[in-house]
Point group: C2
Chain length 234, copies 2
């Protein structure tokens, strides 16, 4: 594609499913353990407790997100299959009703009644195509990839762990939690900014404002956790 | 609707957006603070530290999820509007290309070439309908509600807090963390089971197996966090 033609090109970026999973896991992984560590830094005397709590949170969060994502993926596959069986049965048992539903979809697209009828009749000639059409355009369901659930779970969970270790790392090396917090803020805010930049890039948003947004969410969560933990511990 | 006709009815349940937000917030809210508290219970001597860490986590998690949800909602609105402007400009500047894209959508639906042409010509008569069609069926984008972002953020955040206070509550009253953990497990697993039951109901899944799945995720996360925190603290 030359620069000349690319101006006329549809540039609707679609990030791959795996990048989307990394973004999901890392987004929360960088933010929540960061804020938890910040909150505890205002309330405990020793970094080792922050490490213990942080590790527990990373384990909990990565399992909740990863396993949750896995089961959601499996549920989506089951749901799609049961809806497809239902549509297939309806196409057999009440074809006129189903044809009426096809016409309704095209009516909503803005086609004239005569053309709705023609299109519905043509689609009804091939039952597989007809059922596929109902799944996608009446129910808005895309066929899910049955193998994606496992890979998605692992990617999300691993990204959460990778993200969560960033804010926690300073607490491994600096015994005084207030001081470790300063390093943690510095390293995590830089990572949030870089991460937000790339996240905005892959989702087709303005990257700098995306980076600022992500860093601000992290900072807000950490500041609030610090303040509230202090209050409860004071 | 009588029982007689309901057998022939399409029963594709669509949970409302607000229920979906409650499910999102409460699902993580019940699970992650539960597992964090369980993990810390194996590593610290006093429940007050579990309370401090738990509160910090609830604040962090609710802000990350709520504010994250808010910004994701705003981004979706911006994205929709910018894509719509792009489609509108393309319909003006390269109408033949765009008509070709309409034909491609109908080709994918399984229509014959002659009918693809007829349908594309008819849609092109009304530019608004044409653009709407491109947004929905070529790009797969539904028009987002611009007011939903705020309400969604509040619902998700509040549900996370409500969910997170359940596993934490026993630690407020029982000073010995191991003993508080027993109460926390009992009350949280019951809540996860009930929550999983209703979550499955509103998403049209088998409720009992849904309830078991949700309770198992929570138990797995808590057990893993307990084990790993012990290991790190041992």
């Amino acid at each position: 594609m030359t620069g000349r033609t690319s101006a006329h090109q549809e540039q609707h970026l679609r990030s791959s499913a795996m990048i989307a999973d990394v973004v999901i896991g890392m987004s929360d992984g960088l933010t929540v353990p960061f804020a938890l560590a910040a909150g505890l830094s205002g309330a405990v005397a020793n970094s080792s407790l922050v490490v213990t709590a942080g590790i527990a949170e990373i384990v909990a969060g990565s399992i909740a997100m990863g396993l949750g994502g896995y089961l959601a993926g499996r549920t989506e596959v089951d749901h799609y299959e049961s809806e497809r069986r239902r549509e297939a049965a309806e196409v057999e048992s009440v074809p006129e009703r189903e044809k009426e539903e096809v016409r309704a979809v095209f009516a909503e697209m803005g086609l004239s009644p005569a053309l709705q009828q023609t299109v519905a009749d043509e689609l009804a000639n091939d039952k597989d195509k007809w059922i596929d059409f109902m799944m996608k355009h009446e129910l808005g369901l895309d066929e899910p990839d049955p193998n994606r659930a496992t890979q998605s779970a692992i990617t999300i969970g691993a990204s959460y762990v990778a993200g969560g270790l960033v804010p926690l790392a300073p607490y491994f090396f600096v015994a005084q939690p207030h001081q470790a917090l300063l390093y943690s803020c510095a390293v995590t805010l830089v990572c949030l900014f870089v991460f937000g930049y790339f996240k905005a890039k892959v989702t087709g948003q303005p990257p700098v404002s995306g980076a600022i947004k992500v860093a601000l969410i992290g900072a807000a969560a950490a500041a609030a956790a610090f303040g509230v933990a202090r209050l409860f511990n004071g």
